[in-house]
Each structure stands twice: as C-alpha cells, then as structure tokens.
Point group: C2
Chain length 290, copies 2
C-alpha cells in the first residue's frame, strides 16, 4: 500500500475517534460505538472516496466527513449482522464482536447510534453547499436503507439453506455490499462536480468492483486463514450459504473475479480522470487477503 494511503487511513482513524469523543452521550454507548469503529477495519470505503476525489484532482481529505459517515454505516451493519439473531458471530476483525463485549442491548443501540449519527455528520459538515449535502444524504440513505444494504441483508438471511442461482446471489451482494461501495464512488464524484456521463460510467465501475469484492470474500472464507482475515472461516459452508465457489466451482469463481476486475479496469481506461488511484484500489480488492 502506498504511503499516501497509509496516511489517509491514519487520518480517518483519528477523525472517527474525534467524532465519537465529541458526543455528549452515556460512556457505555460511546465505548461500544468506538470499539467497533476502531476494530481495525480495512477502510476500503474511505479509500474509495479519497481515490475518487484524487481521480478528479481534488484534495482527497475534503471527503473526510463523508468517509467517516460511510464507515459509521458500515460498522453499524457489521454490529447488527453479528448479533445472535442474525449471523451469530463471535469474532470480527480478530476481536470479540460488539455484543460479546458490551451485551446485546448495547450492541443494538450502538448500531442504531452509529447509523443515526452518520446522517448528522453529513448534515453538519463544512465546505459544501446545502444542495450537495442533501444529494449525499439521499444517496447514502438509498444505498444503506430498505432499497439497498438492508434489502441485501434480508435477501441474504432468506437465502440461507437454499440453493440460489447466480442472479439471486448477485442481488444479495449488489445490495448487501455493492451499493455502499458504489455510494463511495458516487459521493466522491458528487463532491468533485463530476459530469453526468463520467458519473454513470463510474457507477458501472463500482458495480464490478463491488462484485469482485464479494467474490474475493467468498474465496477467502474457504482459502483464507482465520489469523489473516480475523474472523472465523468456513462459516459460509457451515450455514449452507450460497457462494460463488459453490455455484461456479473455485476455478469458476476465480475467473469471475478476474473478469469483473478486468471490466472495472477497462471502464477506468476510457475515463477522463487520473486513473492510478482507483486502479490501485481495483488491484487491492483483487488481491486482499483479509
């Protein structure tokens, strides 16, 4: 990872801490929110926002509040997903899950708190017109809400113990993971005043890296090591979840991954932007081992 990205990750970690510190809220809630926010996520979503801004020759750090908001949404979704009533996971990013440390009630509320706070962060950020803020809030709510991430989560739960076809599997991942990744790119483009045509192409790019991200996830659940990815592996098989390797064989899944990465790169290659930043992310998604 290039140094500038390490710096960006450091900045997002500090800024997230500040946002939580500044809250006038019960200490237990603050700690529960902070715990999962600081639990060593890969910060792929913030990096996508920063890289999109860089692609438009903008200072990536103007996207810091939006990056924090997205990371809050992503983190809330992990906290709720890990609950006993949902995926019932005990380990996340190598640490005990939120409800294991703080109890179920506080974990639910920490999730609710992070979700709600993310919109406050967007509404309060400086340096953008009210019109842009409204656009960002709308897009975030759409990609995280009942037409986005929450829909994907429901479809995922309903798909357990069922044999899904590729279309159904893509619906789940497009909604559960893809929409929020796409938001990051869209948000960068909105902040950078992208023209409509470039924005549309970037959305296509986002679709491909979103699916690539998920296919890599499925592969890691089989080939990864617990130590490396920081969560229990083999959980997909255990829960009889439909996955790309299961549907396409491991070889087929790897080809599919390569195919999406290639298409993503092809889209970048025709766009009038500084491609190297997003190219690096594309590569990162294809290679990540956690």
């Amino acid at each position: 990872m290039p140094d500038y990205m390490k710096v960006q990750i450091e900045k997002i970690n500090i800024e997230l801490k500040k946002y939580i510190q500044s809250l006038n809220t019960p200490e237990s809630l603050r700690q529960a929110m902070d715990y999962s926010l600081q639990a060593g996520g890969k910060r792929i979503r913030p990096l996508l926002i920063f890289s999109t801004l860089s692609a438009f020759n903008k200072n990536p750090l103007i996207g810091l509040p939006v990056a924090c908001a997205v990371e809050m949404i992503h983190t809330y979704s992990l906290i709720h997903d890990d609950l006993p009533a949902m995926d019932d996971d005990e380990l996340r990013r190598g640490k005990p899950t939120n409800h294991k440390v703080f109890g179920e009630a506080t974990a639910i509320l920490a999730g609710d708190g992070l979700l709600t706070y993310s919109f406050q962060v967007l509404a309060e950020m400086k340096g953008f017109s009210a019109n842009k803020k409204v656009a960002l809030i709308r897009e975030l709510a759409k990609s995280a809400g009942p037409e986005g991430m929450v829909a994907g989560q429901v479809a995922d739960l309903e798909g357990e113990n069922q044999d899904l076809n590729l279309e159904q599997l893509e619906y789940i991942h497009k909604h559960k993971t893809g929409n929020l990744l796409a938001f990051c790119i869209k948000a960068g483009a909105i902040m950078a005043d992208s023209d409509h045509k470039t924005l549309t192409k970037l959305e296509e790019y986002a679709f491909h890296i979103g699916l690539a991200f998920q296919i890599r996830d499925d592969i890691l659940d089989i080939e990864g090591s617990e130590e490396m990815i920081g969560k229990n592996i083999g959980r997909d098989v255990e829960k009889q979840k439909s996955t790309y390797p299961k549907l396409l064989t491991m070889k087929g899944a790897k080809e599919k991954l390569k195919d999406h990465l290639l298409k993503a790169e092809q889209i970048l290659s025709i766009l009038p932007i500084e491609k190297q930043y997003l190219s690096y992310i594309t590569e990162l998604i294809g290679k990540r081992n956690r």
Copy 2:
C-alpha cells in the same frame, strides 16, 4: 378529538402506506415495516408537527413528509425496544410485537430500514429549500441519535433495578421521549420560518409536554387497563424501573403532571401564534388513556 385532527391522522396513515408501497424491497421487509407503522399508533408526533404549522398559519399538510419521517423513527425505536435483548415485550398497541410476528432478525432489519428511510424521505421531499432540509435532517439525527433518543434508551437500560433520583429519571425521559417530541415542534417552526425567540420558547414548551407525556405514561402503566393502552401493564414494576409514581407517590406524580401542563400552557399564552392547536395537544397529553 376535533374532526380536522382525525383527517390529519387519516392522511398520515395513507401517506405512510404509500411510502412503504413505493419501496423496491423484499416483500418480507416491506410487510414488517408496514406492520408496525400501521399498528395503530396515536400519531402524537405528526399531530404536533401539524399543530405547530397551524399555529403559524401554515397549511399543516406541508409537514406530511416530516411527519412520516418522525413516525418512521418513532416506530423503529419501538421495534428495537421490544426485542428480547431489550425490553422483551410481546404486545404493543394491542398487537403482537414485530419480532413475534416476523422473527428477531427481520424485526432488527425492519427497524434499521425505517430509521434509514426516514432520512431519505427528508432528503427527497419537495417544496423546501436544501438549507431547510439540511436543518431538518440535522435536528432529526440529533434528537434521535446518540445524543438523543439512543442515549435515553441506554440510560433507561442502565437504570433498571436501580433507585434513580428525579434528575436521572428526567435525563432518561428527556432523551428517550422528549427530544423527538421537541423535534416535531422545532421542525414545524423551521418549516414555518419562525423567529428565533419564538422557537426558543417553543422548545421550552416541548420540554414540559415531553415530561408530561412520560409522567402520564408511568401513571397509565399502573392505573391504565391493558385493553385500553394496548400493551401489558405493570411492566415498570416488574422490571423494577424507576418511575414518577414510585419516586413521588401517585399523588405527587399527578401534581407534577399538572405542573408541567400548566407551564406549557403559560408559555403558549405569551407567544404570538394561534395557540388553540397546540393547546389542544397539551390537553390531549394530560388526559390520554392509551
């Protein structure tokens, strides 16, 4: 209840249904969200918004999207509060709670979906400037989030089986219920371009009716009938929750209720607005039996 309020309640019920119908989302999630939204709430929050707009001689129905957003937030909070890990309630508004009908996982997600959608509704509403939308989104997030309702919920959970003093009890209720009621009045005032002085006074008014609302709730948990209020009574005693009657005796609680209602009325009496609408709500809060 005057006819115009019945009409307003009818409008909000229809509009909430439309918002849910218009979603492109898995059917189970739609049903779970719709179920709790239509489970016969009192619609006090929407009525507060409408009445505040009327007080400023505005058409109350311009507040319909905000009223829907607030009702989504209120409903999400009830769904999550009722979960086994939280208050573990089986009955709400005379019907089985959301997780009893749809299962815990879907109930958690229905709550997440409603919470997220409420911000989309505000971001997408017509007829208001982006500046006003941002102000409304910010206020809603603040009153519902980790400095508002979620903080109150945490304090409430932590206060179980403890003897709280009046200050601690007021903290819980101000946050758990008061802030969202206050948002309704603030939102009405923002939409109606209220001057700052009137807004500040209305916030004080909101504080008093918020506490009055909660004291009445505590009284109903002892003196109400299950049939009338539609949820199990005696739950506060069962969970050894601190309540106003427990702290102040029933007589003291009733005096406190009367005192807050009187102060609320006194504030209204000095404001340059059409008071009768909010006066009626004040009265309603003092007398409600469900």
